[in-house]
Symmetry: C2
Subunit: 351 residues, 2 copies
């Protein structure tokens, strides 16, 4: 399918060119950028129609909508870049609503002087990630700000998804009850450590790659096994500590975690030791936390472990009664300590 | 309705406080910012649920989705600010799909040091504009970047709308045919001149305010009169010149505009004279261009003029056959000149 809007020969220098203010002005250069790079990368009939809005038949049932802006620094890091992160992150926020992701939008804010070659890498990574997640990027917008008024490339993705038909009561942060089991889908801290190791030039013996991945397929397998998952949350900014505290506050309960049960890669543990960080506070981009009734925990765990994105899943704790809404960690020796939210900034611009 | 997530007393200083990196870290300070300022401003049950995604029943029929990031500078200008602009602009992109706007997302990228009082003004303006447009802000995200890596506040809004039931074939940029009439809903250039006069401190005799407004209600009135509107486009970045050139390219036609018929306020004309600009290239944020069959033009014009947002509407030209897809302007003396896209950057960060 050919785009109806192709007024100019493509004059973009994809190898050595840089973004200038004209690329954001809405005129000739904007059309060249959109038509030469962005539209071809995301190519699909809805986008190719060339309108400022995408048109599609309404899906049936219940929808979820979510948005995230991505400002990660550096833009490229071990195992990924801001492009696939921006697709996976928003797909995951849809999946945490027990939804199948359908459509994404893509809003770019580029800084004057940004290399066009880097933009090509980013949109290509977005397109590949969208393909893998089965989601279509149907509409977009690109703005350019002057040098020193941005930081290379910021990406916003907003997603629309359809709640899986098997779900009766969708997962929600207020549905955890004392006795419920808490599960995590895999080792925590990989994404944050990957970013930090790149940023700080850490000489890690075992390189740590981001865990960035789309979890919608894992969630579909989980829902097939246990339709009534009470809470789903991806522990991104603030890590597992923030996710469990949100859970405690959202549901008016306490949380008790078993330290020995929480999967952490040795390389991540080592890096955290070196940096004086706690893996509990570190962002993940391909992990989820699930809460279900105690009777459903074995079935849910088995379904997670049977899926490639959940092979290292584990039950890590339980919901308890606690009016103070505390999250406590039981250590291997039987002691307990509080798991608090991070109060300041430990790891800026991790996602 | 009370938000379920309220773990902390509100300690934000709404008058003298500034954004710091902790407000974007996903921990305690983030929750304070979201819960103390953003959620209360947009207050609605979907947002109050405290989940990372909004859940709602699927509307029937056909949907449209659109996204825009707003990087306007300055953030506050005569008649508006980035907040209402971000709501109106995205509502208008939905309306240009002949859709009733339903839901918006709000993605904020704040710069460290940004005054919280300014953030309050912006989100309050967003809430008021959303109220006026009958749209609900159902999900959001807030990121913070280091000082010097942003420019105060960038806003992304993404919208979901439902195509009006009376519409059979929705408007699309490829539907203009020779003979069709081209209409504009009001005087052009107000928004761009308002921004520029603020930016440059121009001593205008008559102050020019932005035309920023939500056009969904006007479009509903237009569709009620003429269900088959062929093209709807809001002439934002690049102005009327870009909008008509996109039309020509999208539909494979020529465009002939009558200069004397295009409404421009005297104050805008005077400011353009002073600045060496052409009102045709200047961004509008509350105007639309419509194309309809010649037989429908009178009815459409009457419907526009009967609506408060279209009182100065005019037929400004017609679609003609032209393989070169040129946009030509007929001057009052009967001469013609080409109306080209702007090729470089004339007015950076106008929206």
């Amino acid at each position: 399918m050919t785009s109806p809007i192709r007024p100019f020969p493509r004059k973009l220098d994809r190898k050595a060119g840089v973004i200038d203010l004209g690329h954001g002005a809405g005129g000739r250069a904007t059309a060249q950028l959109i038509d030469g790079i962005i539209r071809p990368a995301f190519r699909n009939p809805l986008l190719d129609a060339g309108n400022d809005q995408a048109l599609f038949p309404a899906p049936s049932g219940r929808l979820v909508m979510t948005t995230d802006s991505y400002v990660v620094s550096p833009l490229f890091f071990p195992g990924g870049c801001i492009g696939d992160l921006a697709v996976n992150g928003t797909v995951n926020d849809l999946a945490m609503g027990a939804a199948r992701p359908l459509y994404l939008s893509c809003g770019l804010i580029l800084e004057e002087g940004f290399p066009i070659a880097d933009l090509v890498r980013i949109v290509d990574a977005m397109a590949a990630a969208a393909d893998r997640a089965g989601v279509t990027i149907v509409t977009g917008d690109t703005k350019v700000v002057e040098r020193g008024k941005g930081d290379g490339c910021f990406v916003n993705t907003t997603g629309l998804g359809q709640v899986l038909a098997a779900v009766d009561l969708p997962p929600s942060i207020d549905r955890a009850r004392p006795g419920d089991a808490i599960l995590v889908s895999g080792p925590i801290g990989d994404h944050g450590v990957a970013i930090l190791s790149q940023r700080e030039g850490l000489p890690l013996k075992t390189p740590v790659r981001t865990d960035s991945a789309a979890l919608a397929d894992l969630v579909a397998a989980m829902v097939a096994a246990v339709p009534d998952i009470k809470v789903l949350r991806d522990p991104t900014r603030g890590g597992l500590a923030a996710a469990t505290n949100e859970l405690a506050w959202g549901s008016g309960v306490g949380v008790e975690l078993q330290e020995a049960a929480i999967p952490v890669r040795p390389a991540v543990d080592a890096a955290c030791e070196l940096l004086g960080l706690d893996p509990l506070n570190i962002a993940n981009e391909g992990r989820l936390v699930a809460v279900c009734a105690p009777d459903h925990a074995d079935r849910l765990l088995a379904a997670m472990r049977a899926h490639p994105d959940g092979v290292d899943a584990a039950v890590i704790g339980q919901v308890v009664e606690d009016e103070r809404r505390f999250v406590r960690m039981v250590t291997p020796l039987g002691g307990t300590r509080m798991v608090d939210w991070l109060s300041g900034e430990q790891l800026p611009r991790i996602c």
